[in-house]
């Protein structure tokens, strides 16, 4: 907050200090361009992070809490085995709810393969029991052992085989997105420090004279800091705008629902990119201030 206040105060500016330190076109363009490019990249890193985060959350929410028990048995034993299975499940810790699917639900599951009018009741179709875990989850190895003993026709399908690597990959991608954003911030800071140092070196005579007539370091530094902060803010705002536009224009094939087409912002997440120019300004402010105060201490 303090830094933000100082930032706002700074951006209000001091025209006399601005006159005294002449702008250098080269560093100005460099800062604008690089902070614009970095902001553009940051938008994508942010989109990646948010989208994979969303994906990881959805997958684990959809998959982690449900599994199924499939009971295959001769028609006459089906009901007994189903009941036995339910009894086992209900007495297993970690299972919140176990419910046999109705014939209608089973028909619906098979409809894509056999058409809508399949007489499920008369066919030897396995009975499915939907298992909903509680937040702790159950011990699937123990459950399998018990089922084998008590309900020979039951097969537990807990999805874990293919679920975990996917969720893991999505979380990893989210992490990568975060790391990218940190790297982008770091690279921006480095670039602005270099540009600020170039500007300070180009103005060493001006700085000398200002010191001679009684200027404090902070006064001189502020003239540089203000300029670089403004440039980073403007460059990053432009980069963010273009980046967000590009994300917006990504094809949105909702039907496919794939990972690539999900790489956008959703709902209020569209506000997130607004943070990028502000962050860029803060980074520029800190980087230039450090560079200026250090250089001033070294000169004279």
């Amino acid at each position: 907050m303090k830094i933000l206040n100082r930032l706002l105060e700074l951006l209000a500016g001091d025209p006399q200090a601005d006159r005294a330190v002449p702008p250098t076109g080269f560093t100005a363009r460099l800062t604008l361009l690089s902070s614009g490019a970095m902001a553009f990249l940051a938008v994508f890193a942010l989109a990646l992070s948010l989208a994979t985060g969303r994906l990881a959350d959805r997958w684990s929410a959809e998959l982690a809490k449900t599994s199924t028990l499939r009971i295959s048995a001769p028609q006459d034993q089906m009901e007994a085995q189903t009941r036995a299975g339910l009894t086992v499940l209900q007495s297993t810790p970690g299972i919140a709810q176990a419910r046999p699917l109705t014939d209608d639900e089973q028909r619906e599951l098979l409809a894509p393969w056999f058409g809508p009018d399949l007489p499920v009741e008369t066919l030897p179709v396995p009975q499915l029991i939907e298992i909903i875990e509680d937040s702790d989850g159950y011990d699937s190895t123990g459950l399998r052992a018990r089922l084998q003993a008590e309900v020979p026709g039951a097969v537990l399908d807990d999805h874990t085989r293919w679920r975990e690597p996917l969720v893991e990959a999505a979380s990893r991608l989210r992490l990568l997105g975060f790391v990218s954003m940190l790297l982008i911030a770091g690279a921006t800071a480095a670039m602005i420090t270099l540009a600020a140092n170039a500007a300070l070196a180009a103005n060493s005579q001006v700085i000398r004279v200002m010191r001679l007539v009684g200027a404090q370091d902070i006064y001189i530094a502020r003239a540089f800091v203000r300029r670089f902060t403004l440039r980073a803010l403007i460059g990053a705002a432009a980069g963010t705008f273009i980046g967000t536009l590009a994300v917006m224009l990504l094809p949105s094939a909702d039907a496919a629902g794939g990972f690539l087409t999900g790489l956008g912002f959703q709902g209020w997440h569209w506000l997130w990119p607004l943070v990028i120019p502000i962050l860029a300004a803060v980074v520029a402010f800190v980087a230039t201030r450090q560079a200026a105060l250090r250089t001033l201490k070294e000169q004279s």
């Binding site: 006399q16 200090a17 006159r19 005294a20 002449p22 001006v206 000398r208 004279v209 200002m210 010191r211 001679l212 007539v213 009684g214 200027a215 404090q216 370091d217 006064y219 001033l296 201490k297 004279s300």
Partner: protein, 223 residues
């Protein structure tokens, strides 16, 4: 105001001067003379904290110059007006902006009437909006003097303030400095110009110091 106590200085090579003592009392008027290269400019730089003595002690307004922080030095320079031998202007600012620079860097508002008065006083009213490189040598020195006094400093250190001007102009500049001294300012002028010193002695009681052979001495009555 400014005291030097057994001060020595070298730029990394041989001693430029050593065992140097000097007291600039409030309201005093001093001349500093000596051959070119003797170290007059160097001595002045010690007096406004641009250089730090290699040994001995420099006290500025009673404070050890070595113990001053960078901000202290900045504040102290607002109390010491310096006419630099090479003027030290910002060439991209106008003459009047250059003269007002000490005010703007210290956060004071520049009142244009004060600035106009000062420009008239040094005879630069016509040149106010020009850039320093467009000025003649004498005009530059007058602008430098104007900048040195704009903060109404307690001490004025002038390094060859009449180096580039004709006799008449040097008399005018001297008159300005004498006038400031009569207003209570402490003045030190480094100069080669013996005739300037003679002219000054007719107007104020000035002490003349000579920096020669690495020593600072009171000049004899021959001047």
């Amino acid at each position: 105001m400014i005291e030097l106590d057994n001060v020595a200085y070298n730029y990394g090579g041989a001693e430029l001067f050593s065992g140097l003592n000097l007291q600039l009392a409030a309201g005093s008027f001093h001349f500093l003379t000596g051959p070119s290269g003797a170290g007059k400019t160097t001595l002045l730089k010690l007096c406004y904290g641009e250089l730090v003595a290699t040994s001995g002690q420099v006290r500025l307004f009673g404070q050890d110059a070595r113990a001053l922080s960078r901000d202290d030095v900045a504040h102290m320079r607002r109390r010491i007006g310096v006419v630099h031998q090479d003027c030290q202007f910002l060439d991209h600012l106008t003459v009047s902006e250059n003269i007002a620079l000490p005010l703007s860097v210290s956060g004071h508002a520049t009142t244009s009437s004060d600035l106009t008065d000062l420009l008239g006083w040094v005879g630069l009213s016509q040149q106010a909006q020009q850039l320093p490189p467009q000025l003649s040598g004498g005009e530059r020195q007058r602008a430098a003097l104007a900048r040195a006094v704009i903060m109404s400093p307690e001490v004025i250190l002038a390094d060859e303030p009449t180096g580039n001007v004709d006799w008449e102009m040097s008399q005018r500049l001297l008159a300005l400095l004498v006038e400031l001294n009569k207003m209570g300012k402490t003045v030190l002028i480094a100069t080669h110009d013996i005739s300037l010193i003679r002219a000054a002695k007719a107007q104020v009681s000035a002490r003349v110091l000579r920096l020669k052979d690495r020593r600072l001495q009171l000049a004899g009555a021959d001047i």
